[in-house]
Amino acid sequence: MSITSVHKDPANRTMTVVADFDASIERVWDLWQNPRRLERWWGPPTYPATVTTHDLTPGGTVAYFMTGPEGDRHHGWWRIRAVDAPHRLEFEDGFADESGAPSAHMPTMVIDVSLSERADGGTHVVIETTFPSAEAMEQLIAMGMEEGMAAAMGQMDDVLLVDTAAL
């Protein structure tokens, strides 16, 4: 794994993940920009994503659904706020109903991605995720689907405990 640091700031409802990859900035950007590449990493292994709409322009929409082990589908959307290829992407990420329409009562978050070229040709990635309100965080925790995803990724918990203790 290429994560260099994870910082969680509960008072500001923000998490910052810093990662480094031995790949050019164009290749890293392609993983966001190409919908076929995006769907290979956006969903957890047990909830693979299918991207149905992909418009990475300001005001544009990305629509996707994730398919669970029971064939259950969970729809989500991005609303693009800023793009500066291949350096920056800022978008709102939220949940959608069965028809793919954004759910007003479901939590959203803002994701700000910054890519920069390292001297050795690799790429430095900073991903900042912010919840707009404490309510959004409560909603996320209350969601059954989220619990299911967490259970599917239960093996990660030990790793997380160690990391949280170190921070």
């Binding site: 794994m1 290429s2 994560i3 640091s5 994870v6 910082h7 969680k8 700031d9 509960p10 008072a11 500001n12 409802r13 923000t14 998490m15 910052t16 993940v17 810093v18 990662a19 990859f21 031995d22 790949a23 050019s24 164009e26 290749r27 890293v28 993983l31 590449r37 290979r40 990493w41 956006w42 957890p44 292994p45 978050m109 900073v126 991903i127 900042e128 995720t129 919840f131 404490a134 965080m137 409560e138 996320l140 925790i141 989220e146 995803m149 967490a150 990724m153 990660m156 918990d157 790793v159 997380l160 990391d163 949280t164």
Partner: protein, 115 residues
């Protein structure tokens, strides 16, 4: 720079908790809301001094203030922070999984076609 502001935030929490009066204010605010003037009566110091202590706790994100008429009510944010911590833990799990797959995809490219 995003990463740099975070240690400062933690410093603020430690600084806020380093003072016995502020720890006492926080402990009182955990149970129920208190007005700044009610808190000021609990300590042998001026209203302004207590107000300053409350401001330090507020900057550290440990309490919030709300206005009721002419009063300023102080209450603890600890529950909010606890919920926030859980939500961020979930988010961390999700992003670790995502970036692991992200890295695997980039590594796959290296073995196959050139970039």
């Amino acid at each position: 720079m995003v990463v740099d502001k975070n240690p400062q935030k933690e410093d603020r929490v430690f600084h806020a908790l380093a003072d016995p009066t502020r720890r006492d204010i926080l402990a009182r605010a955990l149970h129920r809301e208190h007005s700044v003037s009610a808190l000021a009566r609990c300590y042998p110091m001026s209203f302004a001094a207590v107000q300053k202590h409350v401001a330090v706790l507020e900057r550290a994100g440990l309490v919030t203030k709300r206005r009721r008429g002419r009063e300023q009510l102080v209450h603890s944010n600890i529950e909010t922070i606890r919920i926030a911590r859980r939500a961020l833990d979930r988010l961390e799990t999700l992003w670790r999984t995502r970036l692991e797959q992200f890295g695997e995809l980039l590594a796959e490219d290296d073995q196959g076609e050139t970039p």
